[in-house]
């Protein structure tokens, strides 16, 4: 009996790692570009790496980095992280329905910290309730890809020619596009919300007086107004499967 249970746990771990590898590879290239941006902005390689180790969130880190580099107020940092990462709360609630009893509260303090968009998408799509072994494999692999990529980008950014670092600067935005464009294609209302958010963020960037607001707040205000627009002014209940 003991053996069977051990084997099952080991297999779960292997399944988790297998599902985590494509996520880790995707993260590697993106966090590599984060490492480059962070060091170019004035952080050391270990500061850049620490940000990835302790946050593991692409959009939040990019926004947080710019606030940090501009020495913005701490309240702006807190509010920005809160709003940008608020989606993780919803994912956490949703994921908590799809984990088995082995994931006791004590483990949730660990696994909860590594809920990302991609990890969430994979873990909730499983037909069975996932356990500790699976989550450890899935999240651990994704975490390694994210942290290692940042470390490599931070160290190699200065070694690579300008043409390469310039091109890699687009990677993280390319990943963002790869998340919101397909979703906009599936749901016209998401597309409208996306367009509204873009128009607002361009206004905050280019229109005189309004553009004095910091970039972090500009993103939050644009996103919240666009999401409120979608919630209250667009017809609802077109797609129930949305998380």
């Amino acid at each position: 009996m003991g053996n069977v249970r051990r084997n099952t746990a080991l297999m779960q771990l292997m399944y988790g790692i297998k599902d985590g590898i494509p996520i880790a590879l995707g993260y590697l290239s993106v966090s590599f570009s984060f490492g480059i941006i962070a060091v170019e902005g004035g952080l050391t390689w270990y500061q850049a790496t620490m940000i990835s180790v302790f946050n593991t969130t692409s959009a939040g880190q990019v926004a947080g980095l710019s606030i940090m580099l501009l020495h913005g107020p701490l309240i702006e940092m807190a509010v920005t992280q809160f709003v940008i990462n608020l989606r993780y709360s919803l994912m956490a609630i949703s994921l908590s329905q799809n984990v088995n009893k082995g994931v006791k509260p004590i483990y949730r303090f660990l696994f909860g910290a590594m809920i990302t968009d991609e990890v969430f998408a994979v873990a909730v799509s499983k037909a069975y309730k996932v356990g500790r072994g699976y989550l450890l494999g899935l999240q651990g692999t994704a975490f390694l890809g994210w942290s290692l990529g940042t470390f490599l980008g931070a160290i190699l950014g200065g070694v690579l020619p300008a043409s390469v670092t310039s091109a890699l600067g687009l990677a993280i935005y390319g990943m963002f596009i790869a998340i919101f464009v397909p979703r906009s294609r599936d749901d016209r209302r998401v597309a409208i919300v996306v367009v509204v958010a873009i128009i607002l963020s361009c206004i905050f960037k280019y229109v005189p007086y309004v553009n004095r607001i910091s970039s972090g707040f500009a993103v939050i205000i644009s996103a919240v107004l666009a999401a409120l627009f979608g919630t209250f002014l667009l017809p609802g209940n077109e797609n129930k499967e949305a998380a």
Partner: protein, 108 residues
């Protein structure tokens, strides 16, 4: 950046990010009921990503032209539902090739 300033920012940044994920994961067992709240949360991630990407993406490379071409490639591949890795990689390659050509023509 000096270590102390960095650590203060990091603690606030990581602390908020950690709590926002872990508190609901530990406490919540039941699904959200309110349709409007669910809808709002459904839109938030995409609105955030879109606002962060545009217009910032146009100043992410050495030239607005290469950035615009990279953005175009990313959008086309995104519409074709390619993976995150594919989209990120090919948009970078598009920037690299564009800048190589521009450099060759003396435009960069």
């Amino acid at each position: 950046m000096d270590f102390k300033t960095f650590m203060i920012y990091l603690v606030v940044m990581a602390g908020v990010t950690y709590l926002i994920r872990v508190v609901p994961f530990v406490l919540f067992r039941n699904e959200l009921k309110n349709e409007r709240v669910k809808m709002f949360f459904n839109y938030v991630p995409y609105a955030v990503l879109a606002a962060m990407t545009i217009p910032s993406i146009f100043s992410a490379t050495q030239s607005i032209i290469s950035a615009a071409i990279g953005t175009g490639v990313a959008i086309i591949l995104g519409l074709c539902r390619r993976s995150l890795l594919t989209v990120a990689l090919f948009s970078c390659i598009a920037v690299f090739v564009t800048e190589y050509v521009m450099n060759y023509m003396g435009l960069l």
